[in-house]
Amino acid sequence: MRGKALAKGEALLKLEGISKYYGSFKANDQISLEIQPGEIHALLGENGAGKSTLVKMLYGSLQPDEGEIFWQGQHVHIGNPAAARELGVGMVFLHFSLFDALTVAENVALAMPPGKSVGQVGRELKEISASYGLPLDPNARIHDLSVGERQRVEIVRCLLQHPKLIIMDEPTSVLTPQEAEDLFVVLRRLSAEGKAILYISHKLAEVQALCQEATILRHGKVVGECVPADETPISLAKMMVGADIHEVSSRELQVATGEVLMQIRDLNLKGDGGFDTDLHNVSFLLHKGEISGIAGIAGNGQSELFDALSGERTTDKESIVIKGENVGHLGIQKRRKMGAMFISEERLGHAAVPEFSLSENVILTRHGLEDKLNNGPFLSRGTARKVKDAIVHMFDVRKGSDDPTAQSLSGGNLQKFVLGREVMADAEIIIVNQPTWGVDAGSAANIRQTLVDLAEKGAAVLVVSQDLDELFEIADSIATLNEGSLSAFVPTKSTDRQKVGLQMTHDVAGTTSHQTAH
């Protein structure tokens, strides 16, 4: 399919001069684009470039302020998602729009026109999911499913509506390389069946492999159209960002040579809710000057591991050792005082309080450390603001006002701020969970560079990430976390993405693939 010139018949979808304003801010500014039947069309852009806004207007959940939409040559008004579905526009969301407490069949039924019973929908979805090689149990509850399976539900829900255009919002950001390959097979088949796909992503390699056309957005405007296969990842990234992205400087990989700063010994932890994963006998060492990476699909014990390492949940005294001292029973602030810093996955609500200003968020993790943020029970807001200014300056945090609330920052900027807040305090051990999740390409590169620099300066860094590309870019050694068990760390040089990807989906013994079914 790829590269084949499509017959330029009537476009399936044509946008002319679409604009959307929020006050004086132009989220979308005069966007025009055309999609042919059977075409896989990439929509590229950084976070905040206006991709989501555009897509929401196509799916009817937002209304454009200006511009026109033509569907198969007809001028249309898409008033709500039901109208979009009626036209033949289907959507697979990035942050899955599924209902955790409901079954697969119930979830699918909710997006179907009324009149079909849940049982009927269940039978139909079983049939269609099997025919596309995406097997699903209609009676399983969503929260028992893996992320990959949840995406399957989204896709099957979309397919059952017999769409002519499928919008996919960053479909591979949560998948292992193998799962992504399987998805591409399905997408190519859909394209061959004549369904058009609008594919939103910032993973350039997969856009090049999959898409026939690409439209690039920046600051709400179309800045380029191209055939991705004719470009290089560098040239695409340049169009997206509008400047050169500096690649993370390569360095000599370290293998278990430095002094051991943190040791984890037979760490066991029971998941604390109904759906959490238990950790089983997790043991590893963090060496001075090295970056260790832990790969794994979300929900395999990453948050439990992070909670245990940071001291949000305490464990046996001997399970966690920092610089020779048993700290398993100590809380997070005591561990911080020993030079360990922790950056959690959820930026808003966990790493930062959304409604608090940045300087107040500085106080939250750094009170009690040596910056003199408090004088007895009294806070020194002046000092907090100075620390905030230093972080903003050093890490290039872009913000709208002097001391805005954490929630008003974009994902990338807030992550830079949170990272800066922790690492500015002379950290010797840095534990970070999903450092670049939902962060734009430019900021992600900065964040990775910061982690590399810290390791160069002698910190022991642990990066927990679902993004294999990220781990292969910066980690010295990689292990995988699967069902709460950690594999041995292997030097990055002596493994590859396929091997790690397989470990992520198989149990530690490497025998059976785990499937959740109820």
Partner: protein, 306 residues
Amino acid sequence: MGITEAILLTIATAATPLLIAAIGELVVERSGVLNLGVEGMMVLGAVGGFAAMSLTGNPWIGVVAAIAMGALAALAFGFLTLSLAANQVATGLSLTILGLGLSGLLGVEFVGKAGTKLENISIPVLSDIPLVGPLLFGQDPIFYMSIALVIGVSWFLFRTRPGLTLRSIGDNHVSAHALGIPVLRYRYLAVMFGGACAGLAGGHLSLVYTPVWIENMSAGRGWIALALVVFASWRPARVLAGAYLFGAVSIGQLHAQALGIAIPSQFLTALPYVATIVVLVLISQNVRATLINTPAMLGRAFVPDR
């Protein structure tokens, strides 16, 4: 009618208002809205029902007025918390305080007036069955409504498409909105339904239980109904069980006190609360089942993006 039958009948009478108010609140909470104003809506229903009955002489008009009062109070709550996205906890508490005060004011003229009781309806033949007959088929009309409500709400929530939609909104209103479900419309209807039920429960107090108007006559039943919903983990059948358990223990302890059993009366008075909580906690031990049934959006305001 024997003494056992008489006691069993009073249990049903004590349990009915709790059951109706709780089943209404269950629907509200399943849609993701927490209305702490049950007590207020209930007492407004009681005064509205009694006033309408007193003015017209027809207790059925009282029933309609009780339902309307509750629904109206709920509409005010809905406007504040849904359209204006005000804090649900604070608004609900205010509604309770307002309801207690306003009902006192509205009811001044009716204090001490005798009312007409809503007559029991005996279903022919069936009510002649010994013991079970009068219990199940010789009751007041609101009792029948309460049972119909439990069955109807269970059927609606778990067997119909709008019921599924309502549950989905309570589970994740952002996803529901993304699918094009009118979140606020559903929530308005749920809140109004909950108010109508609370009003009817109040009407039961002033038209059936004790057909007079006394200030604050709801006497904390709205709060018990709220607690029942949570401890029953948002399941209608368990609300039914909880309401009857509470009714049985309250009536039982009254009889125990009357018989002069040597247990301090404070302890006996506390017994219904303790027993209901213990039993419902024990049956909610399945964490997974409880999580599935807990509306994840409970108490969270939803403002659709435009």
